[in-house]
């Protein structure tokens, strides 16, 4: 049943997000063309002022999309959970022969796939932008400079960073699910849901800094990889705890009035 749930989640995701991805890819291609055109003009500023303005606009749109897309994907996934489980659509979803763990699992897996795809698309588009661009041009533009530095990072560190971002992303998703679940069993009281979400974030930050302090006290201050691994483990443990808590709510406390 889990695979069937994922299939339907994926169909909905493709239907909703394919247009965003296509627009993003088109914007990246246009930005790349503009960079190439601007580079070909050299230092003759008057000749390429129009291209520069266009490049600034497209560059801004691309940056905006790059920052917003993972968050839009997260908000969409969280909203879909709420709609599927606790609105009128819940009359269909909650009567399927599927366990609560499968419901949550399917949405999380789809959220993860959506996040990874979004990151991959952003990464590929950024690689496309900086490929073949003069070192001098990159150094002139701090954004591209940063991007190039990012791609040149050690692969292991990059993967650790990526794993950390995935575990944080899953944690935020689960926190949203938990807040929605608690709001639903408390007659839709948003204040409770918001309180739980804020408390969760604050708690995560406190525990995260406590881990960092403990590690520092044990002499691993300069081993950033060890810190990242500890944070990943912490978030994974928190994720598993929240997963079981939401499953418990859906199984034993669901009240779709």
């Amino acid at each position: 049943m889990l695979t069937k749930l994922i299939k339907h989640e994926m169909l909905h995701w493709v239907r909703t997000f394919s247009i965003f991805y296509i627009i993003y890819a088109i914007v990246a291609v246009i930005t790349k063309i503009l960079i190439t055109v601007e580079m070909s003009y050299g230092d003759n500023v008057e000749e390429h002022i129009f291209t520069t303005i266009l490049l600034a606009i497209f560059g801004f749109v691309m940056m905006l999309f790059s920052i917003m897309m993972p968050w839009i994907s997260l908000a969409h996934n969280s909203n879909r959970f709420k709609k599927n489980m606790f609105s009128d659509e819940g009359y269909l979803t909650n009567t399927l022969p599927v366990t609560p763990a499968e419901h949550i699992g399917a949405k999380l897996i789809m959220g993860g796939i959506s996040y990874v795809c979004t990151c991959l698309l952003i990464f590929v588009c950024i690689l496309l932008l900086i490929a073949g661009v003069d070192q001098e041009y990159i150094e002139m533009n701090f954004v591209f400079d940063e991007l190039q530095d990012f791609t040149m990072q050690n692969f292991g560190e990059m993967m650790l960073g990526f794993l950390l971002s995935v575990s944080v992303f899953v944690g935020i998703l689960l926190l949203c699910y938990l807040a929605e679940g608690l709001a639903a069993i408390n007659g839709g009281k948003k204040a409770i849901a918001s309180g739980v979400a804020i408390l969760g974030v604050v708690l995560a930050m406190i525990i995260s800094s406590a881990i960092a302090t403990v590690l520092r006290a044990n002499g691993v201050e300069y081993d950033s990889n060890a810190r990242v691994i500890a944070q990943i483990i912490f978030y994974l443990v928190a994720d598993v705890g929240m997963f079981f808590l939401i499953s418990y709510i859906l199984k034993n406390k669901l009240n779709l009035e």
Partner: protein
Amino acid sequence: MAELVKCENVSKFYGKKEALSSLTLNLESGKIIGLLGPNGSGKTTLIKLLCGLLTPTNGQLSVCGLSIGAETKAMVSYLPERSYIPEWMKVSDILDYFQDFYADFRRGLAEDMFSRLNIDLGQKVKTLSKGNKEKVQLVLVMSRNAKLYLLDEPIAGVDPAARDYILDTIISNYNPEASVVISTHLITDIERIIDDVVMLQYGHLKIHGSADAIRAEKGMSIDELFREVYRC
């Protein structure tokens, strides 16, 4: 007759308000059961408890001897009193959905009923009229070869012609070995088709028995009895 549904001392509270009060009830298979009672008597609550949309405050519920969960949901076909199909879906999408999740779904039967209703499979749910949305949901529910059909107010708010269509669809498509629970307060329309009667009042079981036996014992129709029991 095999015991299909078992409720033992089931209570349900919404906050401090008691919707069902220590309800003990057994339903057999192979029957069409009228779940009757005025608004607020606990009909919808009982149905939602049986299909897992609500969890009881106290007591035990089972369908085919199993506690309510994924296994019982595979055997129960539920028609809610509201529209639950996502608006963005096409009729064909929802057929795919039911086919994927319910092993007992008879797609051919559903397509045949849609064709007779002139409902295009490529049509989006949001473009359907309210009446057609209700018919789509009914077709989906009755196209399953379920062991228990739970129909919550299937004939409320529809015209008499649609009522006839709905009741004919129920009678001609349900699995004869299954039971159909129809919740309503429009007794006249369903009296001709029900085998058993369950009457609820303020969350308590008022009357439960065979429709024929009740008519013979009380010397009146179920509709007349309903009016007498629930007289304001």
